[in-house]
Amino acid sequence: MIGPGEVPRLPRGVRVQPDRVRGGWVLLAPERAVTLDAVGQAILAEVDGSRSFGEICARLAAAFGAPEAQIAEDAGGFLSALRERLFLEVSP
């Protein structure tokens, strides 16, 4: 899992862009294109390489009016899965 003080960022070669033809957003990475749902897109929109995971969760909780613990669990799971595939880096 990602700690509240850790800062996630997309490494070089990974980017999120709108899918002009199918609609929605995609995460593009080496040899992979992953369709993002609205939740995944909202989480990644907060990942800017300077906000900590804790800050990201607080912002999402405010935006969606959801408990922060719940957001931390969902966003943490989502980001950890990306990290395992090396689509995301985390610095302390």
């Binding site: 490494p11 070089r12 070669g13 990974v14 980017r15 862009q17 899918d19 002009r20 033809v21 199918r22 995609v26 593009l28 080496p30 040899e31 992979r32 294109a33 990290r83 395992e84 595939r85 090396l86």
Partner: protein
């Protein structure tokens, strides 16, 4: 409406300084003079993006043999495509890599013919190629391009797999593709020289599984297991005409790189017909799209939307019928015979037939 493709492989040229005996280019190589120019390619990249393609693989031959490679990368990025360069590294200099960086190249996939000069230069047929490749790999790391190492493994070099995994880590690669040779193109001609033994194939699977567990979160390993020694075929290209397309150097648009081995299919050129129309209307793309074309045993098989009956080109090559079940499937009536033949190919002791330059005869 036909679902749009996700990926396009652009075979910019069939020219290549190497001569790998498993090259996936067709036996009938396109000559340099017949290659499309920069403008045609740039227009096709824009058409591809408009059609829904997200990932562009710039391949060959050796794409660095194109003098306009940097312009082509810039055109691809301007079209909004994720741009991947598939290269042996030969022909890339530090200055050229910097220019590719400035043009927006997203990712580099570097091929590995072997893990030492003796093996790699013997397979690629070019002395000094391995040393050159290592230098290019270092420069790639310096610039910071995300790197995938692609090792094609076969009977002669499968014992080098553990070292290939180490090299991927040493070179800072994020991904390693361990691809057991697939028998299309030139590899089909070299089956007696390349076919791995059943034991080698099994050992490779074990090594990959161990390395994946050990290197989780550090290195992603994609693995293409040996075809003739397995039970089920591969889902080639994600299903014919479903997720990807290939453009040959002269603009011919193909459902996969070996599609021209299937007689009776007529392929259209992106020089003459818009890509979107080719994708939706070319009968060659519709010939094996979906599952309607299938015969038994695929037609009533529960795996049919999983592997789409395997590879059409392999069915053509091994069963003499592109509409048949891929003989690498256990349910194919030809499977037992194929398994026996795989053993014979693996036991044969044949010299390589190297892939020649376009327009030349192989020796």
């Amino acid at each position: 409406m036909t679902r749009p493709p996700i990926a396009m492989l652009a075979e910019l040229t069939h020219r290549c300084p190497l001569a790998c005996p498993y090259c996936s280019n067709p036996l009938d190589l396109v000559r340099g003079a017949a290659e499309m120019g920069t403008e045609d390619w740039a227009r096709i990249f824009r058409e591809a993006a408009g059609l829904g393609v997200l990932q562009l693989h710039l391949s060959g031959g050796e794409p660095a043999a194109r003098r306009d490679l940097v312009d082509l990368v810039a055109a691809a990025r301007a079209a909004g495509l994720y741009t991947n360069l598939i290269t042996s590294g030969i022909g890339l200099t530090a200055a050229r890599l910097k220019a590719l960086d400035a043009a927006g190249l997203d990712h580099v996939q570097l091929s590995l013919q072997g893990t030492d000069a003796a093996m790699a230069d013997a397979i690629g047929g070019l002395e000094g190629a391995f040393a050159r490749k290592l230098e290019v790999a270092r420069q790639i790391g310096e610039i910071g391009f995300p790197l995938t190492l692609n090792a094609v493994l076969h009977r002669r070099n499968l014992h080098q797999l553990p070292r290939a995994i180490e090299m991927a880590l040493e070179l800072g690669a994020r991904r390693l593709e361990v691809a057991t040779v697939q028998f299309h193109g030139w590899a089909l001609r070299n089956r007696d020289a390349l076919m791995p033994t059943r034991e080698q194939a099994r050992e490779a699977g074990r090594i990959v599984a161990e390395a994946r567990a050990r290197l989780r979160g550090r290195l992603v390993i994609d693995y293409v297991p040996a075809d003739y020694h397995g039970d089920y075929p591969k889902r080639c290209m994600g299903g014919w005409g479903s997720t990807g397309l290939n453009v040959a150097p002269d603009g011919t648009v193909l459902p996969c790189h070996a599609a021209q081995t299937i007689p009776g299919l007529e392929f259209w050129s992106a020089r003459e017909v818009p890509l979107a129309r080719i994708w939706a209307e070319n009968p060659a793309f519709n010939a094996y799209r979906g599952t309607e074309w299938m015969a038994e045993p695929c037609r009533s098989c529960e795996r049919k939307t999983k592997d789409f009956g395997g590879c059409r080109c392999q069915a053509m090559a091994l069963a003499g019928d592109a509409g048949a079940t891929d003989p690498t499937c256990v349910k194919s009536p030809l499977h037992a015979d194929l398994a026996a033949r795989a053993g014979a190919h693996a036991a044969a002791d044949a010299a390589f037939v190297f892939r020649p330059a376009p327009g030349r005869v192989a020796v």
